[in-house]
Symmetry: C2
Subunit: 256 residues, 2 copies
Amino acid sequence: MNSITVVKVGGAVVEDDAQLTDLLKDFSAIEGRKVLIHGGGRKATKLAEKLGIETNMVNGRRITGKDMLDVVTMVYGGLINKTVVARLQACGMNALGLTGADMGIIRSRKRPLKDGIDYGFVGDVENTDGKTLSMLVETGIIPVIAPLTHDGNGNILNTNADTIAAETAKALARHYDVTLIYCFEKKGVLYNPDDEDSVIPVITREDFHKFVEDGTVAGGMIPKIENALSAIDCGVKEVIITLAKAIDGKHGTVIR
Amino acid sequence: MNSITVVKVGGAVVEDDAQLTDLLKDFSAIEGRKVLIHGGGRKATKLAEKLGIETNMVNGRRITGKDMLDVVTMVYGGLINKTVVARLQACGMNALGLTGADMGIIRSRKRPLKDGIDYGFVGDVENTDGKTLSMLVETGIIPVIAPLTHDGNGNILNTNADTIAAETAKALARHYDVTLIYCFEKKGVLYNPDDEDSVIPVITREDFHKFVEDGTVAGGMIPKIENALSAIDCGVKEVIITLAKAIDGKHGTVIR
């Protein structure tokens, strides 16, 4: 099978011009087929604030009322997605900006009430069309995916970018050897959170259980690694958690 | 040659939920290959106002400073484009939202100073990739194009939607028999502006010169028809100017 690299970058990287320039350079250097998935939460929060729309986060997820849905559709699907696409085009990469609604590539279901919490227009991914994505990739296109999906009934839904990255990687695993790279503000998963250089080179499922038990892995890192392990279970070759500046596949923590 | 229909709708139609529903029904009913191009100026003006960004129009064109470019990128490329795409998908149409930057389909040049006026980040179309568009169309995709282009150097540029429609129609004319439909708030070009039903059924280039001379055609209608005639000169089969509610090709004024 041919190989493909799926890179997920957070909002902080694509929202800052200098960091975006670095990222594009590094992303250009990745050989072969590739897909970029981006966030954009900080810019959405800023725009919402300017418009007098309150931002409510529960368990790290944005409560998305109708006004907030408009904000994230504008920021993720418009401003950030198209800025990245135009910049990639200028680097000679044939980027195509997508949301899950475009060509119906990612369909989701509006999240039902959870523990009495109404997340609003938030979508849980149901189906990702790896066949259409691979068809695009085979014509030399680089899909750039915003964290928005659709429900098939005409509604856009706000969807976590890490999840979209994992689901895209899984869907592509039927067609390619997939490496999924999560960019992150640290060099990888650390043995010691106070020592930036104490990167754990490899984590298997057994290691993970051990690390959770002894407290080495905690907080937001737990769902991130669970996500990665579930991708591995679904055929993704490897998941790398690394710095945005180190997406060459040679740095960070490898989840196998 | 196979035929294709290129429909351009203004902002008023796609920004209003009831009008959008009507449009999607009528657009669904158009048989065969099709492309939709949309505006969105009113919503951009409203968002700019909320953000304290002043809207300046010169000769019907928006002066586009950096802040306004962000606004139109969000509104045209994000909110309106993705709303329309999700709604079309719900109608069973395989829509793909695009700006000129996506797959590099429309490249433009930042407009130089004109009569001392700096239009800012406004692009004049230089090249439209009809081959890539036809490749998409042949796989059953319905391109939905926002009035944004790119300069190939990483910049998004604000571009008139009528112009994008004309350039797209011309580029497709090398591959198809193209009908270009401009939706409009009147039933067509009128003999008498006070009589909504006095639609001129057909206008040729000779008619146009006569109508301009005797004052039947005046104001903003002149560049619209000039645009249409230039499309005809470049191989577009016919251009129809009609109501958004009458895009079946049987109503309005035909420019030949």
